[in-house]
Amino acid sequence: MRRAERGQSLFVLLALAAPAMTLAETAPPQIYYSTFPANVTGAGVGIVADNAGNAYVLTNDGGISLVSPQGVISAAGSVSGSPAAIAVNFANGATYVSWMDFSSGNSYVSQIGGSQVLLPTANFAYVSGIAVDSNTGHVYAVETYFPPTDTNGDGALLVLEYDAGLNGPLKSVTIDKGDAAYLEADGPSAAVDSAGNVYVAAFQNDFTPQPAPLRPLEHDAVLALKFSPHLTQTLYNHEFDVGLLPAFFPFPVDIAADPAGDAYLAVSADLADVSGNGYRGGVLAKLNPAAGAVFTNNTISLGGNPQGGFTSEFPAVAGDAASNSYVLANINDASGSHVQAVKYAPDGSIAWNFGIFGNNGTSGGNAIATDAQSNVYMVGQNSSASGNFTYVAKFGQGTGAAVLTAVSAASQDATPTKTLSAPLGVKVTRGGQPAANVNVRWDFTSLPSGTTGQDLLEVPGFPSTVVASRDVPTNANGESDVQVQLGNMSGDYLVAAQVSGATPGQINFTLHGKIFIGISLSTPTIVPLMLDGIVHPDSVLVASVTVYGAGGPGDTIVGYPVVVRSTYVARSGGHDHENGHRPVGVFTVTNSTEIYGITGNNGLFAAVFRSSWTGGVETLTAGTTSDLSVSSVSAIVQVKVADQTNAPLVDISTVAYPFITYSGNTGVTTYKFCPGTPIHHPSSHWATVATSTSALAALEDWYNKTKVVLGVNDMSLAEGGIFDICSDWRPTLNSRTEPGHKCHRGGNSVDIDKTGLSNAQIQKLTAIMGKFGGNRVIEGPIHYQFPGRENCFGAGGQ
């Protein structure tokens, strides 16, 4: 709503400036700022906005411009006379303009794109305010009216009601105080609240006759009127003083109303500057439904320099559904003219206030309006080097339904227990414009099973508190961001951003909590469990499982559940069963082939692994217990006997020596099929390099002395481990009653076939074996034990 332009200066628009004081609210963001085309030369007279975010600007050249929600200006029509006011039906966007043809003295109300009505003319009348009841579509117009009965020209107010098609008047009310008072309504001096009550403001100048020769006592005041819907009843007719008294032309320039029935009047009145001198300033008065003053504010409180006769004003006022009021303030001081937009809270305190174009000394505002979303529209004038121009600007949350869009990727990978590298974000717009201070509710809507420790962090570094949801209002750009810290499980985390009433009301983000697993072994090689019927100290290793994120092994994840399992590689050692089965090592804590654990503070889970009785290759595989999508990792364990140089066992039966023969299993691929026992073993003539070399040297020495060829029987199996060919093999960790070749597990044993040998020959052979380090052990055949890992009851040893 806006009064008629009153010859303000033109201004140059530049930039926004921050308010100088601490205020209750942050000034709304600018949605658009648009300048009119050069051919639009008129200054702004009024501005209205519909619920779709369209704004209509009336300029004093009669032009009517449509401003799209994006701030694009286009011509919407024109009137041929002098425009007075513009009003809109919020329900359907029907827009009306009141104007006067001075050449004929007629006043009109025209609907943009619609019909037009000639207002009553009488002797003289000029239209000012216009308002629309969005509930009924009826249009109310206010004329300053000089009926034929008016003999002294003191005027009256004529309030008229038309239907949406401007048929009527359906009703009219005349306010005439007779010869005692002069009434004049000017500009947008009418308003309608959401209940259909009609408000009118006017200037009243009355005279109280005094005894001659005294002059009549003059009293200038503001007259505020309120009518019930359809003008059926005058609710108040309130005359009140504004500014210095006696007042001099306190001229109402705009009026607005809110749904609560409050009225807001912007008045140009005389105020006192700091020196006590009068100057022209603006006053905002809020009247409650009973016409009582709620507050009055003036331009002095908005800064500027109320000194030296400069003129300031509130050129326009608007209200909103929350009983806030908005004014434009043109502050003139020694540095020039500056326009401010000011929001007053219901109690009259300043909610926000900002100089729209900075303090460049040339800016000015003409009209202000709000829409249903409390967006603020304003039109004014400014100047540039090329001349004056009209601008229109919009501040606030945009118009229409909130639209929620995702700023972040809807689906992305993340690391459990870690904060996302970039926050999740959504943007709220209305009418395509950012909507600030819109509450966005962020929620974890779904978590992987067993997850703990998830968090929504409003800002990076915000003290971590495990929360399931957080409210983060949109910023000036309409964006709401939240940092997300995943819990301790991998899998999909669903985070939803919700805005009540928005379209869509919720946006889901899927965060794929990914982990990687690594496994390392304290040693890749261990010896079979029981070389000597006891747990050999070299038969254990530590398997270390690390869980880490996308940042690599250093990006460790604490508290992640893992499982490690051991399996054998079939036919990878000297002991195989026909179906490929063979014993496999176990984890000492569980005494089983699998162990479950949780990574510690260093992202590590470690478990002691103990070999089985058999030699060969085993695999330790680490995986997760909760997320099947995570790839497991494996490490190879060589369970084998080696000599001091870590050289593997060798099979001497692959070489034919003239001084020995081989008994039992020979050759790399030879398997023994024990009757009734499907157990296969390749050659049984494996030994460490040292043992095989020593034994062969001894046997050759023997042969050189005796020329007797000896038969070499069992030694060890490939890789060592339990040697149980054809035995009833039931190895258990705690049993010490197992049969089988007890001392043929470490590659340090050689059995010699003693068939045909005398005791003296055996003694001689024993002496020769002893030369090379072999000690005889009483077995079935002649058993010689050489030094090595296999202690053999004290006969061998290191």
Partner: protein, 343 residues
């Protein structure tokens, strides 16, 4: 340089191990004495060690093998193998593997017929495959070495077949780990019981072969060891021997070239005198041994005489020339004296 030979003969005492658990009846226990003769050839620097083994008439088993410890873990002067040959019939070495390190280089010169010999990976010289019945002796088992005499351990084992006394093997059906350990332990106990082991004189690694001061130190140490083993007795006698060696070393430190040889010479004279007197007293073939003497009686065993006298002669050979020239006439006299049986 004229070759000179020093030598003597001795009988070494024996110790028979006792088993720690009940042992089977009839195991071939044995008691062995070792008689050692050491000679030194200054020209080649080679010592010759000859051993004669006597199986006691009280023994049950026939001696099958004899091992002499030759380990060298003390470092010291490198010892040459020059001139050391393995001419004994039945000798066999270890070949290229395993390499025996830390063993005194020796040559297996000769041994009785029917015996085999050679080094072992345990740094011993071994003779085996022989048979010395109870009450009989066999020898000599002859080694050569550049190492001077020192105190060595020996082990003599009788012919022994464990299966004759231990009826189960460790892998026999029903034999548990505990049973197997008992079998092995019993076998060890039997072997420890039936074998003979003790101390004798054999080649040892010297600190030096040419430094008189270090040689004297080694001789002092050998004298102490011999005394501790009971090979040497009589406080006055031992003190007198110590005095000679101490003054010899002091003379060396004072560079009194004539004094040191005189003291070593005196040391040798004292040994020889005691040895002669003792031999005369025991001409009736009594066994020598500490148990025959109290702490105050002057006593010198054959092992001690062999050990100390030969090493003292080596020291004399390394002392300055004037004294060596002075010793020349005496050497001729002494060589003649050593060519008798020395008893």
């Amino acid at each position: 340089m004229r070759s000179r030979l020093f030598g003597c003969f001795l009988l070494c005492g024996t110790v028979t191990a006792a088993g720690a658990q009940p042992l089977p009846a009839g195991i071939p226990t044995s008691t062995v004495t070792v008689k050692t003769s050491v000679t030194f050839d200054p020209a080649s620097g080679i010592f010759q060690y000859s051993y004669t083994l006597t199986n006691s008439p009280q023994s049950v088993g026939q001696i099958f093998s004899f091992d002499l410890n030759l380990s060298n873990s003390s470092g010291g002067a490198p010892l040459s193998s020059d001139g050391l040959t393995n001419t004994a019939t039945g000798y066999s070495g270890l070949g290229d593997f395993p390499t025996v390190s830390g063993m005194i280089p020796v040559g297996f010169k000769s041994q009785p017929v029917g015996w085999d010999s050679g080094p072992t990976v345990h740094q011993t010289a071994t003779w085996f495959s022989g048979s010395i019945p109870p009450g009989q002796s066999q020898g000599p088992f002859v080694l050569t070495s550049h190492a001077p005499p020192g105190i060595r351990t020996f082990v003599a084992k009788p012919l022994y077949e464990p299966s004759d006394f231990i009826k189960q093997g460790i892998d026999d059906p029903g034999v548990s780990y505990d049973d197997a350990q008992k079998i092995v332990d019993l076998d060890k106990a039997i072997q420890a019981t039936i074998q003979s082991q003790g101390f004798t004189v054999g080649p040892v690694q010297p600190a030096s072969l040419t430094n008189p001061s270090q040689l004297i130190d080694s001789l002092i140490a050998a004298k102490h060891q011999a005394a501790n083993l009971g090979w040497l007795g009589g406080k006055d006698f031992i003190d007198d021997l110590d005095k000679q060696l101490s003054e010899a070393k002091q003379a060396l430190s004072r560079q009194q070239d004539s004094e040191a040889p005189e003291r070593i010479r005196k040391f040798i004279d004292m040994l020889q005198q005691q040895h002669r007197e003792q031999s005369e007293r025991h001409r009736d073939d009594r066994h020598e041994g500490r148990e025959h003497h109290d702490d105050h009686e002057r006593f010198l065993s054959s092992e001690a005489y062999q050990l100390l006298e030969v090493n003292a002669e080596v020291i004399l050979s390394q002392l300055p020339a004037p004294h060596k020239q002075q010793r020349g006439d005496d050497d001729e006299h002494r060589d003649g004296g050593h060519q008798d049986d020395g008893r």
